[in-house]
Symmetry: D3
Subunit: 272 residues, 6 copies
């Protein structure tokens, strides 16, 4: 498997396959390899015969602050004999297409436990989940595509308008706003646990899911998922190919790299 | 026509064709034949040249508590020379496909007057209506597919995600929750009459519809229905075939029968 | 399982699951129960882990002359306490919807070996197959829906226009013409074995398939089927619900029953 | 260009192309020619290489009270050698199809600044915009299609159900209700400026948009618009052809003309 | 009704509604008003309760040579106070959208009897028919959109690729080639009468259709048409709005007018 | 730009942008980098304002024998610190998705000049072209996905069934057959030049295209392409994401690598 096991933990607990982001020190920013590792684990859960719920959890203050700036900067500056096209095919397009597709084709119930904000591709994956739980009303999603000189990715051009309204999505994405708990609740977030501790939040969800699983006929879960997914799977595949290949031209113009560089500098300053 | 006229009443009143569930003693639980009778009446309204509104009303405390457990149990236990496949084709698939299709192809405005909760297939039919009015904020819809070892039916895998969001539908259906008035209002329910008496509620709606019909050009009604329905009719047909044939495999495994049996026993206990 | 094992044989041979219609004396006309039995076998093949090809073969002069007139007539005349609606839901709609859906959702390569003509629902199932082989250029498909006072069924309103052109389908179906080998070849039939003996034809195909299977990576077969089927599965489901519920109104008017009766009489005369 | 420049003003300001309705005395009711002029300006903005936002603003108390009754009445009564079909092809169908299509194919961000109510085709165009801002909570949209003996137009049979729910749209359109700020907010309106002066409102938006444009990579705007629009452009085109040709039969029956005439008389009375 | 009755004749004969182009001297070139008249007659047939087949026939050497050049030239040169946009909305867009939609929504079987070539919009309408019969193998269809500085119209961007292959359509349309009998047969033309006299051809078809109608259950005809049309009606509506509004920009640039003028001059020369 | 200019030549000639595969010694087998280079050139043509036709030509006996076995083998055996997932994301998925998308989104007329057979991804790209010309009747397309332990790629799960019939495609792909000129003509190939010399063939096409371009209004070309492409662009994007991510699991199992290795060995033997 790809990537270090320390960054993303996982375990099986009855009908649950739990995947936990474990980079609290960096607000769970994820490198390209981390995203691949995450997708591999989600796929592993798909093939686990006794798994009915794939539960994404995290640690610390953020669910995930998105792509690791340092990772992108080091790729942008790396001196290889690759052309720019090859570099961004490898480091952007292939990973985005793969991760998005793995989430889109998942046959189990995908649950995202928002202990805090999710940003960028991580927030896109959250919008691909079947259920999203919030630790409290401070969580938000952020899609900083415009700030980064990119376009929508991770299927968001389909998932967000289908869950919210297209006007609200345009407003939020275009002007780089947070998608707040008020906007998310009832549309993306279906339960607010009103807690302040990530560990307690994570444990409560595990307990709840195990308790609820007792009353229901487990094979029906996969049947319901299949029927609901039939409404959007094709559209997300269509968007996946379109989004990723459209975005590539932005990477080839160099704008995202330049903007990631600036943000990284800001971040360093901020830390000092 | 199928079924007894006593269980489901109907009459024509100007541009309205009113159909009334009349089994308050059983909370308007419906047998397979009752559902067929209901569909026949809805189809009759479709062919009535002066009908513009098909109004579904009910009596007593529930709009409809869904499938009659006793009816299903007696089918499950009947000793005929049918195979299990034949039995459930007749008693489940054929009726669900037909009733769902009759509601889906209806050319008049279908109005559901929720004097109380609607459950199961009855709640699915409510989600196929163009307008839903609530007697008060105590009404709810319930889709106990998981509890019964089934999957979504009656077009709900399309209608519910298109009216609510797919996350909210997944949460409610998967964990067998009530879909409360708060969730329904503005999305499925468009008016709350804030009343406590079913008769008064039913009469007020009839009066309102007749009064409103005076100001509008009646043929425009069918034109508007046709244009809005063009967005979903094909998808509901697609789901109808998929849902019903997927569910059949659950009936063939015997799980729904077993669970209906348990619920029937609980109900009997509860009454004693 | 449904129906007598004598009428429809089956066996497993390596990657093949062979199903053989075995009513040559009646030109393999099939009763409602025969069609259910056929669908059950196709479904059984779908669940057989080592099956990659589901091969439909037949015996005698016809692949299948379609619905058994006697079966339909006896249903039409049966004195039960069912209403007409119940009778035709059970004897027409439920079976057509189920059989069509089982063929449509099949995950293996479905192969129809036309040793002779196929008629009616049997011809519709042939149009749902991935591969159709002809014994010689005398085979044809016939869709006598107009002659029987019916409409298109078994997904033919989608499968035929997608494989032939809609004008050609309209011409053939509307005027009750044979769809000849010339029309079928290259569009539905992909190989003509130029043989005159059904046994030899059936054996040659088995031998060919087994020989060809050796060179190819078997899991790729299911991958190719899934990708090609993604183009039409939803449309066939949509048509399945629409066709079956539209046709029901024709059965309720009694026209198909009347016409089957006439054809049965003609057939009897012809035999004398 | 079509129509007088006085009625609809426009200017370019950096990345903005501002179009302003300027008939406050008639509550910005628009003649057929005014709508064409508006569409031409929107198209002009589409071809302006430095434009990223096309901003529709208005003046006075209403954003636009919809079609000019006098204009329609004078057409209805004009004595030409045209047949009724020719007359309404020219004065209704061609304009509606063209204006709707121009809005639907627009590649820049379309922003509607609701200084007050929008009615009829103007309200339909508002529902085709990517962003809608409200001056305060007194704004509303009104679709008086039923009152006028018409059906849904301007793509509303697609845009409204996709942004609100189909039940809510049916209720509002069928019974000629205002679509209030409460219904619009979060679904169509994404920001309420809480102001009372149209000029101040218009200026504030211009200032906000210019300020926000500074932080974002402008080419990304067009990329985001393209990806979100991919979800609905085809459906709106489908509805455009269907709505306009369906409505024509209502014009040929003379009902809308009769009703516009009555409304015009009422309006005159009201003014006296 | 629109237009002179002499140019387009019609009569009812049992289940047939026959419409006959009657301008043999101009090879049945049609003015804008002629096309409207044709559409009105097709719509009249749709509303005729006893009509099952709407039969389009013609006279002389051509089925129809398409738009009347003189008519277009006179419009192009007319001095009115219309802008160019208004002129071509009236004289091109509104008519094309309406005629295409009337053919697309037709509920009866539309039959085109090709006594000779069909060109331009007339050839587009032929491609919207359910059945096309050829008098002999000299008939062809011609879509001179490129020669005229236009784009595909009359739904041809959908109908032609669905009946032929998109490569063949691209080749024929792009390079202004005749679509020959060899290309049409089996895909658009389903029968060749091998005759040389238009009257005899027309009569034979009438006789054939009446004879064939006797054996079939007439209501089944409308059922089959509805099911087959469900495959394409939405796509043709989508194309109708897109094609017509795209083409308008070509008319506004003046290229088609210029090219019609040249062709008209050539034609005059040719006649001398 | 990516890759050596020697392998793929290009030049602009009036409205033509000509791209020529120039590796005749290896039958124009293409490495991963060659495919990227080809896509870049196709994209360059898309952005060339005076280009209307993008013409793909080749040299020697084959148009292209597909993926270079040596290139794949060396990747399979390379010792890097990449995981298998990373390796095949870079060397398979990213390239296939990108190249397919570039062809699918192309706005000019794409012409493939088959001087000989095309195999694999090269044959897939041929099926994405608007026009395909054959040098003679010995050309064929070959999709050896099954032989290689893969599934359909390059959009072929959509393009081939839409141009041929799904049965014919299944037969050809599943059993690794050549798609012969007889199958291609009229469906994919629209003209056979009946020549034996590749240079002469290439020159004749250039001359023909330049000559034909004179009579037509060039902007209409892009309009026709846009309208026809509207039928399939979304489906090809959907398939692109699905095909590439499905295929990845085959690469991860190692089967294609093993089979490419065997084929490479056979080829070496064959040359000795």
């Amino acid at each position: 498997m790809t990537g270090s096991n320390e960054n993303i933990l996982h375990y099986v607990d009855g009908p649950l396959f739990v995947i936990k982001l474990n980079k609290p020190q960096s607000l769970n920013s994820l490198t390209g390899l981390d995203y691949l590792r995450l997708a591999e684990l989600v796929d592993k859960a798909d093939n686990e015969p006794n798994t009915y719920f794939t539960v994404l959890q995290s640690t610390g203050r953020f669910f995930s602050s998105g792509a690791d700036f340092g990772d992108i900067s080091s790729k942008a500056q790396s001196q290889t004999n690759e052309t720019e096209l090859e570099k961004w095919l490898t480091n952007f397009l292939s990973r985005n297409v793969y991760v998005t597709s793995v989430f889109n084709r998942h046959k189990k119930i995908l649950i995202c436990c928002l202990n805090g904000p999710a940003v960028g591709l991580s927030a896109a994956l959250c919008a691909l989940c079947d259920l999203v739980y919030a630790m409290n009303d401070k969580v938000f999603l952020k899609y900083p595509f415009m700030e980064l000189g990119l376009v929508m990715e991770g299927g968001t051009s389909v998932t967000l308008p289908s869950k919210l309204s297209s006007n609200q999505v345009t407003d939020t994405v275009l002007f780089n706003k947070n998608m707040t708990y008020e906007q998310l609740q009832g549309r993306i977030v279906t339960r607010n646990y009103n807690l302040n501790d990530a560990n307690e939040f994570n444990e409560r969800i595990i307990k709840d899911l195990k308790s609820r699983s007792k009353d229901i006929y487990l094979p029906s879960i996969l049947g319901v998922k299949k029927l609901i997914a039939a409404n959007y799977v094709d559209s997300v595949h269509r968007a996946n190919s379109l989004e990723a290949t459209d975005a590539l031209s932005f990477w080839l113009r160099g704008e995202p790299q330049r903007r990631f560089q600036i943000l990284k500098a800001k971040l360093r300053k901020h830390k000092m």
